[in-house]
Amino acid sequence: MRTFYFLALVLGFILLQSTVLNFIAINGIKPDLVLVLIILNGFLRGTREGAFLGFVGGVMQDLVSGGYFGMYALTNITAGYLGGLGEGRLYRDNRFIAAGLTWFCTWGAQLVFYLLLAVAEVQVPVLTALIGIIIPVSFYNALVVLLFYGLYYRSHRQGLLSDGQY
């Protein structure tokens, strides 16, 4: 059931990202809520589940976007796996640590996305990609985690996303 709620959340965030998040876009850049969710899931659940749910969430994104199939799936596997590397190693009660990890994982995932764009023969200049997208999204995602990590963590411990182990 937890997985079902997680995927429903992914779908809800895709809808938000394609609609109202555009109203809070800064210089055309909006936070990537799906990526944040997958990173945090990896952070709290470990590399295996992080990468697996990252893959499933990515396939959903690929389906909705209807573009290059596999681009979001591969990016989100990376994000979930990188997030999972923090599990057991980093202190999970601290929102600043979670925000820092999100910043780092967003970098990794966005770099993978950039490489996949090259595979799909879509040219974006490196500097534009870094300054225009990767760095702003990393900070924006980290800010979202700073604001909402408490809510997500509570849900993970005793809410809809809990597996009853606490």
Binding site: I14, L15, L16, Q17, S18, T19, V20, N22, F23, A25, N27, G28, I29, K30, D32, V34, R48, Q61, L63, V64, S65, G66, G67, Y68, F69, G70, M71, Y72, A73, L74, F113, L116, L117, V119, A120, E121, V122, Q123, V124, P125, T128, A129, G132, I133, V137
Partner: protein, 279 residues
């Protein structure tokens, strides 16, 4: 999965990645096809997106209105002063405008494309959910006569072209998308070039392959060229912001400031047919 050895897991992961990258490589040339599943997903999500978009816009207006009221009286005084200045300028501009109309008639150059285009109005119901690509979803599709490669505009200028159509929605590739290319030319110097998007989210454009002997100046207008392109000729795109040499050195490239504000698109016009009136 837990019963598999590490080696087998790695082989499985490797296979998965190879399959996905291969799929990605081959789907790269076919983004203009929409699978029946993706088409159905879009038709189902479109009304939901529309409702969320309208609600979001209302909330956004509600939140920003008090902030706008601060300093309103100061702004009113400034505007009042500006108004008197503008009234005097208007008289001068009317004279210039009359002259402009006469000159245009002499050149027989049509800038008003409206009579030549048949359009279908559509509302923007969603945008690409990522930051890399620039596309919008509109609430008109195959059932309303929308087809792939139709040009999309606003009264301000060129927006993009339809790339995928489902029953009641269509996806429009914005000209700011890095996958977009538009045959264009500078109106004043008649320099041809290709207009390319840089990143989807930001509204920046670049015009490449401009012949060095026809270098445009800052502020020159860029319009669609119409030659062998899906876009009708003469649709305004933007103005030249900066010109520099291309890396190869043979051509020039220019940064273009688009007329359309791509972050504020609410309604667009899809050009369903057009006829070019040649002088």
């Amino acid at each position: 999965m837990s019963g598999l050895s590490l080696g087998k897991k790695l082989v499985l992961l490797g296979l998965l990645i190879i399959v996905m990258v291969t799929g990605l490589h081959y789907s790269a040339g076919g983004i203009e096809r929409l699978t029946p599943l993706a088409s159905s997903v879009r038709d189902i999500l479109s009304p939901v997106q529309r409702v969320i978009m309208i609600a979001g816009r209302e909330v956004s207006n509600l939140v920003t209105t008090p902030a706008k009221l601060i300093g309103l009286s100061k702004r009113y005084r400034q505007l009042d002063e500006k108004n008197s200045q503008l009234e005097s300028q208007l008289l001068q501009f009317k004279e210039i405008s009359e002259e402009n109309i006469r000159l245009k008639k002499m050149l027989d150059f049509r800038t008003d494309l409206a009579p030549q285009l048949a359009t279908e109005a559509a509302a923007v119901t969603g945008r690409d959910h990522g930051n890399w690509f620039g596309s919008i979803t509109i609430n008109k599709g195959e059932n309303q006569g929308i087809k792939s490669d139709m040009t999309v505009i606003t009264p301000a200028g060129l927006v993009g072209r339809v790339i995928r159509v489902s029953g009641n929605t269509a996806e429009v590739l914005l000209i700011t998308d890095p996958r977009s290319g538009v045959g264009s030319m500078v109106q004043e110097t008649r320099s041809p070039g290709i207009l390319e998007g840089v990143t989807g989210g930001q509204g920046s454009l670049k015009m490449v392959h401009i012949p060095a002997d026809l270098t445009p100046d800052r502020g020159n207008r860029v319009i669609t060229a119409g030659l062998g392109s899906v876009f009708p000729k003469g649709i305004p795109i933007g103005t030249v912001r900066e010109v520099c040499k291309e890396e190869a050195g043979l051509f020039k490239m220019a940064e273009i400031e688009p007329y359309v504000d791509f972050n504020r698109l609410e309604e667009v016009l899809v050009v369903t047919s057009y006829k070019l009136e040649t002088p």
